[in-house]
């Protein structure tokens, strides 16, 4: 069994999610009596494989989820994949995976391009690292869910505007429900991202005091990109809140959720390819502290 688990690679769950996504896309082309089972089966298989992969890393590579950029992205992808599967089971006629699984694959792609080295941590910074990582994780997952709801709102509204009956196998939830989801996820994303940023400032101060990690300057690309994301999410939430009693507010919120996903994507790309002092040991220190905590990328 252990040999089997150790053999699970990123390719395994990427392949499963890709087949599940292909099943979702095929809804547009033809009807099938077995597609639902295949879709759920492959998504569940990918989810289990990814969970085993993360578990194996936690046990054998001393890499608790969130302890490296690689693990952080994979955990975010796993949460979204789990959400996608749950929504597929509860709304079987809605192609939810069509909107969430690409984000899952994008996050796994970002993980592959990111460092697998755990951040040096100590018990003193572990709690702040965990808070920092978890808040950013919640923000990112909220943005992705909100964007999925936003794009579904626009598709549904487009169909209603054209006065067409719904496409077979491509039924969207009601505009009312989708608007509620986008509103809530934008608010959750704004507040959790802000909390994540604030906890990062505290973590930075603790690091500076203890000399455990390199102090991250305000001009560091990670600070800039996360600061930009937080600023945008707060603006988006404020806009959504300010216009909620105006005609067409739901459409604006849907677009805001899509722009939020675009900003998050840019932030991830910047994070993957940018140079940073985030999570680095202090200059001149050769031996990093034993990894055991959590932090955001």
């Amino acid at each position: 069994m252990l040999e089997f688990i150790s053999g699970i690679s990123v390719v395994c769950f990427v392949a499963s999610y890709t087949v599940a996504l292909a099943c979702e896309v095929s809804r547009l082309a033809f009807r099938s009596g077995v597609r639902g089972a295949a879709l759920v089966g492959f998504a569940a298989a990918g989810l289990v494989a990814q969970a085993l992969f993360l578990g194996w890393r936690a046990v054998n590579a001393a890499a608790l989820p969130l302890s490296s950029p690689f693990d952080w992205y994979l955990l975010a992808a796993w949460l979204l994949a789990a959400g996608s599967l749950w929504l597929t089971l509860t709304l079987p006629r809605t192609p939810i995976g069509l909107f969430l699984l690409p984000v899952v694959l994008l996050l796994i792609g970002a993980a592959q391009l990111s460092s697998r080295e755990p951040f040096p941590q100590s018990p003193a910074t572990q709690i702040w690292g965990a808070i920092h990582g978890l808040f950013h994780l919640a923000a990112s997952v909220s943005v992705a869910l909100g964007a999925a709801a936003g794009i579904m709102w626009l598709i549904q509204a487009g169909r209603l505007h054209r006065k067409r009956p719904p496409l077979q196998g491509f039924r969207m939830p009601s505009l009312e429900r989708l608007a509620n989801v986008t509103n809530r996820t934008i608010a959750i994303a704004a507040w959790t991202a802000a909390a994540g940023f604030a906890s990062g400032i505290v973590l930075n101060a603790v690091n500076r005091q203890r000399g455990l990690l390199e102090t991250v300057p305000w001009t560091d690309p990670v600070v800039l990109r996360l600061g930009g994301l937080v600023a945008w999410l707060i603006i988006a939430d404020a806009l959504a809140h300010a216009t909620r009693r105006r005609p067409g507010a739901a459409r604006l919120t849907a677009w805001l959720s899509l722009v939020s996903l675009a900003v998050l994507t840019l932030s991830i790309v910047w994070g993957v390819f940018g140079v940073t002092r985030h999570g680095m040991p202090p200059a001149g220190r050769d031996e990093p502290v034993a990894p055991s905590g959590e932090a955001a990328p």
Partner: protein, 424 residues
């Protein structure tokens, strides 16, 4: 012949004759009782709906179902109609044609509204009545069970019954329900007292709508209609306030020009706090200025819009016909295969009994010659004999089953009878 059917539908029987031919539940029970007395040992099921009257009969070899002419005469006698009136309009089927027809009826393929689901419950009721009347049996039982299975497959594997085709149902299910998640917290405004309003409200009630206001230019008519529909009467001179409070409007006035103009709606819009509004304008001429549909948060649908959606759904249903017929053909083949295989049962039983008898005789002889065998050894030898017989019998039985799929395997049965000296 094992299965027989005579029947007429809205396509073949004129309405006046169909009305006379139709059976109430009591009349159907009486007819089945009469059938049981007239044709003992035969099975019969009577399906009578507003669009069809069909009699399904079945019987095993030696007690074949009544001939089609007898069934026509029987139906005519039951309803007091001259048989000559029915003969030209009632269709006749036998064997596979009966199963195929029943499967298509149960699946809604033979209905006036293609794919409508009510027929399935009527088929179940007909079968239940036959059971109560003791005219049901294994043949019709197998056929009606297969019909229910076929209908379920058609419903799940095709989109035949999924698309709505009536204007009010499309308006509520495909449009209003796509805007609102729930209706129990929404205010519905019925503007006017057109006949489509009540029908649309029925679907809205099913969807959960509770708060309904009826506004009509004639106050008395609004009171009367609201009492009938369990709604609250509103005042026409407060239409702007009613529109501002409403989430969904069903408009069916007989006005000759728009009741709600764009300018009037702008006044409404200012009081709505940005809440979305669905307007189902089912009036001709239209009650709402079409430009209102361009306002943000307003979803306006006219009769033509909804009719176009209905037509698209009808086309969608038609496109599912080949897939539905493929299922029906497959199930008909499977059912008829089982039915034909069933006719081979006496021969198979004889064959098994003969082999078993011979085997037992040989075992007895062997055990007498080997008295030292204990019970366990005897059991082993007996099991070996039984396995040997089963393996030898398997190929001819498999051939019989395979041949049954194409029709009654008379040739193989004759060959088996001659080869193994089986008697009828």
């Amino acid at each position: 012949m094992t299965l027989a059917l005579v029947g007429g539908t809205h396509r073949t029987v004129p309405l006046a004759l169909r009305e006379r031919l139709a059976f109430s539940a009591e009349q159907a029970a009486a007819a089945l009782a009469r059938f049981r007395d007239r044709f003992p040992g035969r099975e019969g099921v009577l399906l009578s709906t507003c669009n069809r009257v069909e009699f399904y009969a079945a019987g095993e070899t030696g007690a074949e179902p009544p001939a089609a002419d007898q069934l026509v005469a029987f139906l005519a006698e039951c309803r007091g109609i001259e048989a000559v009136q029915l003969e030209p309009v009632l269709a006749r089927e036998h064997d596979a044609g009966v199963a195929r027809h029943l499967f298509s009826v149960a699946s809604g393929l033979d209905s006036m509204v293609l794919g409508e689901p009510q027929i399935l419950s009527q088929v179940k009721q007909a079968w239940a009545l036959a059971q109560d009347s003791r005219t049901a049996g294994p043949l019709t039982g197998g056929m009606f069970q297969a019909a229910l299975r076929t209908a379920k497959r058609v419903a799940t594997e095709t989109a035949l019954g999924r698309e709505r085709v009536s204007l009010p149902s499309v308006a509520v299910a495909d449009f209003a329900s796509a805007v609102f998640e729930r209706f129990d917290d929404k205010r519905v405004l019925l503007l006017g007292a057109g006949k489509m309003a009540a029908e649309t409200l029925r679907y809205l009630r099913q969807a959960g709508a509770r708060d309904v206001t009826v506004v009509n230019r004639t106050a008395g008519r609004a009171v009367e209609l609201s009492a009938r529909l369990g709604a609250r009467p509103g005042r026409f001179d407060e239409l702007v306030a009613e529109l501002a409070a409403a989430d969904l409007v069903v408009s069916t006035t007989g006005a000759t020009e728009a009741v709600v103009t764009l300018d009037a709606f702008r006044r409404v819009e200012a009081r709505r706090d940005g809440r979305p509004l669905v307007v189902l304008d089912l009036a001709v001429p239209r009650d709402f200025d079409p430009l209102i549909g361009g306002r943000p948060g307003v979803w306006l649908y006219s009769v033509d819009d909804l009719a176009a959606a209905c037509e698209a759904n009808r086309r969608s249903r038609q496109q599912e016909m080949p897939a539905a017929w493929a299922i029906i053909e497959e199930e008909t083949g499977r059912f008829m295969g089982d039915l034909h295989h069933r006719s081979t049962a006496p021969v198979i039983d004889q064959l098994r009994a003969g082999w078993s008898e011979t085997g037992e005789a040989e075992l007895e002889r062997l055990f007498r010659r080997l008295p030292g065998l204990d019970d366990a050894q005897r059991g082993e030898i007996r099991q070996a004999f039984e396995r040997y017989a089963a393996k030898l019998l398997h190929p001819p039985l498999a051939s019989l089953r395979s041949e049954s799929r194409a029709g009654p395997p008379h040739g193989l049965l004759d060959a088996l009878k001659r080869l193994f000296d089986l008697k009828d």
